[in-house]
């Protein structure tokens, strides 16, 4: 089976083509450039570079977030449209779960996170076990301060993975001085990991129902809900 993996959910943009046993090709950039301009050409290029055509792709895996709202939507829209129109299976994968895979050889807990502004992060708690990285506390949006306080209760050693340490490292060191900060090579989510996860998952029953995982309401919606509660 050939899987095309797509991730534009955060600053890192990645596309990969994998089989069950091989990563045939992978393109990753970690620069502030426009995903809307670059993602579709990257998909065309990776498929061509590994000497395949879209016809030979069986399944499409896509990072569904959390992350940049616009970024997530670009990836999900392209993945859904390709899957629908070219009759491919589709699997949505958490962007945090994808990043957590980089900690597979770490003995302990893995905490991937993306900065979500104003002291907040998108994060989750993962654990490496029997050659697999599995979610132990679900993805969430939280204040980093509160999250670290909760993590402090865990007895195991913790590996943090993120490209946003500049904003959060000081606080991590302060609250969890014994934790491990991921090295640069482990901090980019890799689309080949998204492909790997997608091999083991059931594809979505209905491609139309694949939606981004924002983990946060649109601001106007939360304000509106607040108003409704206050009215009562």
């Amino acid at each position: 089976m050939n899987i095309l993996a797509i991730d534009s959910s955060n600053l890192v943009m990645g596309v990969a083509v994998s089989t069950e046993t091989k990563v045939l090709g992978e393109i990753i950039t970690n620069v502030k450039k426009n995903h809307s301009i670059r993602l579709m050409p990257a998909i065309e290029q990776i498929i061509r570079d590994v000497d395949l055509t879209l016809d030979q792709i069986d399944r499409i895996a896509v990072a569904i977030g959390p992350g940049s709202y616009t970024g997530v939507r670009i990836g999900v829209t392209i993945a859904k449209t390709l899957a629908w129109t070219a009759n491919k299976e589709i699997v949505g994968v958490s962007s945090l779960e994808a990043l957590a895979q980089n900690g597979i050889h770490f003995n302990g807990l893995i905490v991937p996170f993306f900065d979500a502004r104003r002291g907040q992060v998108y994060t989750g708690l993962y654990q490496s076990k029997d050659g697999k990285v599995e979610c132990v506390q679900e993805d969430r949006l939280t204040m980093m301060k509160d999250w670290l306080a909760e993590l402090k209760k865990c007895q195991e050693s913790i590996l943090f993975l993120s490209n946003d340490f500049d904003k959060h490292e000081a606080l991590i060191q302060e609250i969890l001085p014994n934790s491990v900060i991921g090295e640069a090579v482990y901090n980019n989510p890799r689309p080949s990991e998204i492909a790997k996860l997608a091999f083991t998952r059931e594809p979505s029953k209905d491609v139309h129902h694949v939606v981004p995982s924002y983990l946060r309401l649109a601001e106007a919606e939360s304000k509106w809900l607040e108003k409704q509660v206050n009215k009562k």
Binding site: T77, T85, W224
Partner: protein, 342 residues
């Protein structure tokens, strides 16, 4: 240039709060036109919320495309090109259509034709009447108020545009002042038909030779009148306010359009965009065009508001003219229509 060559275009539109796909033959015949409207969703916010609109576009995009293809009863082999709104519009919303269209173009190896949203509104007319050149198009919607002169197909010259609010925007704001629901156009139109235009609101004519528009002064004047009346505890007829406001908008729109039509010796006047659903505007334009002896074309209601049939219709012209985009196409929230001119 030959614009008569047979073609079938899939059009895609996501520039604001409608997710739409359509199949159009030869730029004139609608084979299918599917619109997933978000009006009900945005009503509670009193206007379009860009982030909410974008979220709904992602959910609806493939559903709408599938329905358009199915209803048109076409195969992908039959489709000559994919036309998509590149701009102007809400950037986050545009990106869904643009990226979806690029994926379709890649998957089926079809030419990708970028379309200007306003060109779409103009070409909505070609789905009902053949266009006669030279023509003048008045585009009035929530986002636009423009006078565009066209010497021939795909020749756009903006001779007038709004310097502040779009006409539709003024309708929405005045409607809110009168406690009418969003969108404001239909409510004001209904009230206006029951009132008398007895309040003398300002008309912004600007410089004598200018075809530009301005509606923010008028909007403020209406808000002031309502506000002052409330403070003094006076009741004023909402019907009369609506009628007076609408009269003021129409006076300027109709007078400037007719003046330009005469100066440019046009063979046809086209009115398009959401506000062209307004009965007051339709009646005024009909009688002014009748008096001037210039044929008028206003598309039916469902082609006035945002849809993808109009994008496919404009895309047909762009396709035959050779407009092409590659997979690096991006949305452009402030795209200029002149870029699409021959």
């Amino acid at each position: 240039m030959n614009f008569e060559k047979p073609n079938i275009i899939l059009g895609i539109e996501t520039s604001c709060d409608e997710t739409a796909a359509a199949v159009v033959e030869n730029g004139t015949v609608i084979r299918s036109s599917v619109v997933a409207s978000q009006i009900e969703i945005h009503k509670r916010f009193g206007g379009v919320v860009p982030e909410v609109a974008s979220r709904h576009h992602v959910e609806q995009f493939t559903v709408v495309c599938e329905q358009a293809i199915k209803e048109a009863n076409v195969e992908w082999e039959d489709i000559d090109a994919i036309a998509v709104t590149q701009g102007p519009g809400l950037i986050g919303a545009l990106l869904i259509g643009v990226n979806g269209a690029k994926a379709l173009a890649f998957a089926h190896q079809k030419p990708l034709v970028p379309v200007h949203h306003i060109a779409g509104h103009i070409y909505a007319n070609r789905l009902v009447n053949e266009m006669k050149f030279p023509l003048l198009a008045l585009i009035v919607s929530g986002g636009h108020t423009e006078l565009i002169y066209m010497r021939s197909h795909a020749s756009y010259e903006v001779i007038g545009e709004t310097r502040d609010d779009a006409a539709g925007e003024a309708f929405d704001k005045v409607a809110r002042t009168l406690d009418l629901p969003y969108p404001g156009g239909p409510g004001i139109d209904r009230l206006a038909s029951k009132g008398e235009p007895i309040i003398d609101f300002p008309r912004a004519w600007l410089e004598p030779d200018s075809y530009d528009f301005s509606f923010s002064g008028l909007k403020s004047a209406v808000i002031n009148v309502v506000h002052n009346a409330k403070q003094k505890g006076e009741t004023i007829s909402k019907e009369n306010i609506a009628a007076s406001f609408q009269e003021s908008v129409m006076d300027v729109l109709v007078a400037k359009t007719m003046k330009a039509a005469k100066e440019y010796h046009v063979e046809q006047i086209i009115v398009a965009g959401g506000v062209s659903a307004n009965q007051g505007l339709r009646k005024r334009m009909e009688s002014a065009c009748h008096d001037a002896g210039i044929p008028l074309s206003i598309p039916p209601l469902k082609l006035c508001t945002d849809n993808a049939a109009m994008i496919a219709a404009a895309g047909s012209i762009g396709y035959l003219k050779g407009d092409r985009a590659d997979l690096a196409l991006n949305g452009n929230p402030s795209l200029a229509i002149e870029k699409f001119s021959i």
